[in-house]
Amino acid sequence: MTSETKAKVAIAGGGLLGRLLAWRLCQRELDITLFEAGDLSAPVGGACWAAAGMISPLSELVHSDKQVYNLGLKSLELWPEWARQLKEQSGQDVEYRRAGSVLVAHGKDRSELLQFLRELQGKLGESAREQVQPLDSNTLAKLEPSLHGFEQGLYLRGEADINNHRLLPGLLSVLHRGAVSLREHSKVNCEAGYISVNSEREEFDCVIDCRGLGAKGQIEGLRGVRGEVMVVESREVVLQRPVRLLHPRYKLYAVPRSDGRTVIGATEIESEDQSPISVRSSMELSSALYSLNPAFAEARIVETRVNCRPATMDNMPYIHSEDGLIRVNGLYRHGYLLAPAVVEQVESQVAQQLLQVV
């Protein structure tokens, strides 16, 4: 195929989905344009930058549908190879880590662990037991020596995480080098076969709309769910893997990064408010963190992030395909868990549509 006959694909939205799609599709013989309303360079806007990058199908299953779990398993299969390719192409390690995750609860909340197991069993049957290893204070101390004062926990061996602050810039550098045309500060409107920037309408063979909340009004029931995250730096406490604290009221995860920082989050508030983190939320996150190990008291809060996760009313990923237009949205709190599986589905839909064009 010569360049004149290459099919033209527009991707609207330069978040996680947009970048992954641009990267995957530019490896085919396609003419790709990526539109982004803001900046593509870090710090990136949108939920993908605020997130902690966990890929944890089991932990998420207790408050989501089995379909999310199944897509998550698919993503767990895809991430290692994608991370390897990205490292090769960008020269940057995206820090994909499959070290499992640990769930703990304080003594008086120990029924939370039981409840978690029960819910997993309810959704997965007996196979849940094989994927979850109960921990006592000894095994817990071996796995996560920095946790303080916990008598029991659960180890979810299969779970993983990725450093999104490496991944997103890494993807961008690969896109720069590849044959992708990048158009920043371009707020667009998406229609079947067309992208409009301001009043200019450009024609494409296929338009992929993955603008997240930018697509509000075009997708029924799309809403934002506010999330607040803090980043702390501690020399004393070093976690080995993502840790979740189960508590009847507060939920906390702590995800350690290679640079000694720990991302802690995340609140979940039914609001599209993007204003800075509230005092209440920062207290809840801090005191939950402190309860993992009192030495966290001397950690430094180096950053706070607030963003809204795009979600549909059933909190399930949204993929809609019609001739010349594919809309992907609503990854909610499961961006890194779902993205590879969802991107693969979209890739095959693009291929189908373009076959019909050519």
Partner: protein, 268 residues
């Protein structure tokens, strides 16, 4: 036979009030509310930024249910805080109905009786229809009635514990002594059988959230609670039999003298 629940002059068919928090998704929340047949739903303004409320899809979604909205003051620890939040809720949800919560203890979310009475007095003067979440203390309940509450919502057990009706003696006392006041058991209900029990005891309704929202199948559980509440109410209306110490066969055994019947029971 019509057996309506009347609260502040408004009549309802359903005696089950449900919350809107903690569901896996808004869609499941709405389906559960429908399955519960509730006509009154609570919701919380807490943690929202009032400056940014022009466009909240989630609340629109709740409003579309057509239910009587009952905003709450969850998490408020002082009367001042509760009154301010109540005013904000009134503006945003366009209703003067209010589930008043003033929390006195952070860990078990126990109501602060003193702050509750103070806040209730002020809110009633402001024209609110106050449904206070209170403990099962008779004197507290009286004081709440004195300041103008027409409905009371004593707890069964602390919020989210699912322990059921912990102090039946107190609850029974409330029911007997405040026989004309609509009493709704709020909080602590974990199982449909506990909801049924509350209605059997003569309570007018129950309010719950966690037991439905955190069930593995919230929609199915909502239906279970609907049936339990209907069943408990029907049982109350029908008049429960009294408990007896000795068995009484529904068909007398004529061939056995009554003193021997008693003996054979004792030997069992």
């Amino acid at each position: 036979m019509s057996d309506l629940l009347t609260l502040y002059g408004k009549a309802f068919n359903s005696r089950l009030l449900v919350g809107t928090a903690l569901y896996p998704s808004p869609a499941i929340m709405r389906e559960s509310v429908q399955a519960s047949a509730s006509e009154i739903i609570t919701l919380s303004l807490r943690r929202q930024n009032p400056a940014q409320q022009q466009d909240n899809r989630f609340w629109d979604y709740i409003r579309e249910s057509g239910c009587q909205l009952l905003p709450n003051t969850a998490g408020c620890k002082s009367p001042r805080e509760a009154v301010e939040l109540a005013k904000m809720s009134q503006e945003i949800f366009q209703t003067d109905w209010l589930k008043l919560e003033v929390i006195g203890d952070d860990y078990n979310l126990q109501p602060d009786p003193f702050g509750l009475v103070e806040a209730a007095r002020e809110l009633i003067q402001l024209g609110f229809k106050v449904l206070p979440y209170c403990t099962d203390d008779l004197v507290l309940c009286r004081k709440l009635l004195d300041v103008g509450c027409e409905v009371l919502m004593p707890w069964g057990a602390p919020i989210g514990t699912g322990q059921g009706l912990l102090n039946k003696y107190n609850l029974q006392t409330l029911r007997e002594r405040l026989s004309d006041v609509p009493l709704i058991i709020d909080a602590g209900i974990g199982a449909p059988s506990q909801a049924a029990e509350a209605l059997e005891m003569g309570f007018d309704a129950v309010l719950l959230n966690t037991a439905i929202a955190k069930a593995q199948d919230p929609v199915l559980m909502a239906n279970a609670f609907k049936l339990a509440v209907e069943s408990g109410r029907a049982a109350f209306n029908a008049g429960l039999m009294l408990r007896r110490q000795t068995a009484s066969p529904s068909t007398p055994t004529l061939d056995m003298p009554f003193w021997q019947q008693a003996e054979s029971i004792l030997q069992d």
